[in-house]
Symmetry: C2
Subunit: 190 residues, 2 copies
DNA sequence: TCCTTTCTTGACTTATCGTTCCAGAATTGA
DNA sequence: TCAATTCTGGAACGATAAGTCAAGAAAGGA
């Protein structure tokens, strides 16, 4: 019938993620996107709609990949507590690049319902997986039982955000490792 | 000699802080600033220079006030640990409004040295005051000694950032209180 | 009172933004 | 080969941005 797409739309989206996570929505121009994604302006609009749609899609893609990575680490070890620790370690190791999730929440807060929806969906997936790990860790006696599983999840997510902000503010790997260690310390049995 | 300024430049700056902390630098137009600050466009440029200078000044003002507030709480109680707890409580109580410090770091990372300088100065002041409180709390047996004072400060600052991100993401007061409680738990002696 | 200075107001300039339009090249199926 | 489709690149559009200019109003000092 017709000509086939010449560019890999997945790779292009990945490149868009890279630009958005570093510069945010307002800080990113379509010119930057076209350059980074290596596609024509028209292809961008034809394939992804307008800038906001592309951004939302990028956040969705990023959140999805990030959630998967978290869950993978959670399940990487026999002992649940080791999985939780591994999740934090990965966050520390990859904290040199900005987090699109944190950036997006900072930039827009609750002002864009369609964006909030994206965040909530990813949050829900992570919560579900983490709750299992936390219960396991508690049952194994590796984690304190005085805080509810939900409170622990909230704390882990907030700690991850804190680590990422610290990294964006210039903290080095050792400092970030120390943050992760202290966060886990709050959850240890006593 | 000549006519005197009709507007209060301090109040105007305060209004600018209010706009910037909610919308960030790129998300704020000079039109929004002029409206919020209730001054003429020319007065804005005459008094504060360009938009970036105003932003830097706003961040400086905000960081300074915020640092003072933290220190005030730290010293509000006889027991150092209670001061630390009070500092976290205030953060939770005021988390409904966005933090210009966190937003600024999210938006620009380390890409603007003059901005980084502002952050570092405030960070330094807070660090100095917090170190004293932490040593006191440790000496009083109210805080674990296994982490260095600097590590504890890093952790407290990261926890504050985490709480603020959580709030911006939609978390309620109870959830934020739980975050603060868990963070302090990491520092308790065992 | 008048002069000097500086604030205020709003129109103006210039640049850049997101977005669309257009023409030509490329590629597939018939 | 032809027709249909869609990619590419650049030009163009309207809107909005930051920042400047110019004229008048207001206030203090002589």
């Amino acid at each position: 019938m017709a000509r086939i797409k010449e560019f890999d739309s997945d790779k292009a989206l990945e490149s868009a993620v890279g630009v958005f996570r570093e510069h945010g929505f307002d800080g990113t121009s379509t010119e930057m996107l076209v350059k980074a994604m290596k596609i024509g302006r028209q292809s961008l609009y034809d394939t992804f709609g307008d800038k906001w749609s592309l951004y939302r899609l990028a956040v969705e893609r990023y959140a999805s990949a990030e959630t998967e990575a978290h869950i993978r680490e959670l399940r990487s070890n026999g002992r649940a507590i080791d999985g939780i620790s591994a999740m934090m370690d990965r966050v520390v190791a990859e904290a040199d690049r900005a987090c699109l999730g944190v950036n997006s929440i900072c930039e827009f807060g609750q002002s864009r319902p369609d964006l909030t929806e994206v965040h909530l969906a990813a949050d829900h997936r992570l919560r579900h997986a983490a709750r299992v790990s936390i219960r396991q860790a508690q049952d194994a006696g590796d984690m304190d039982r005085s805080a509810s599983a939900d409170a622990v999840i909230d704390f882990l997510i907030a700690s991850i955000a804190g680590i990422r902000i610290a990294a964006r503010g210039g903290a080095g790997q050792e400092a970030l490792q120390s943050l992760a260690r202290l966060a886990l310390r709050a959850l240890m049995p006593r």
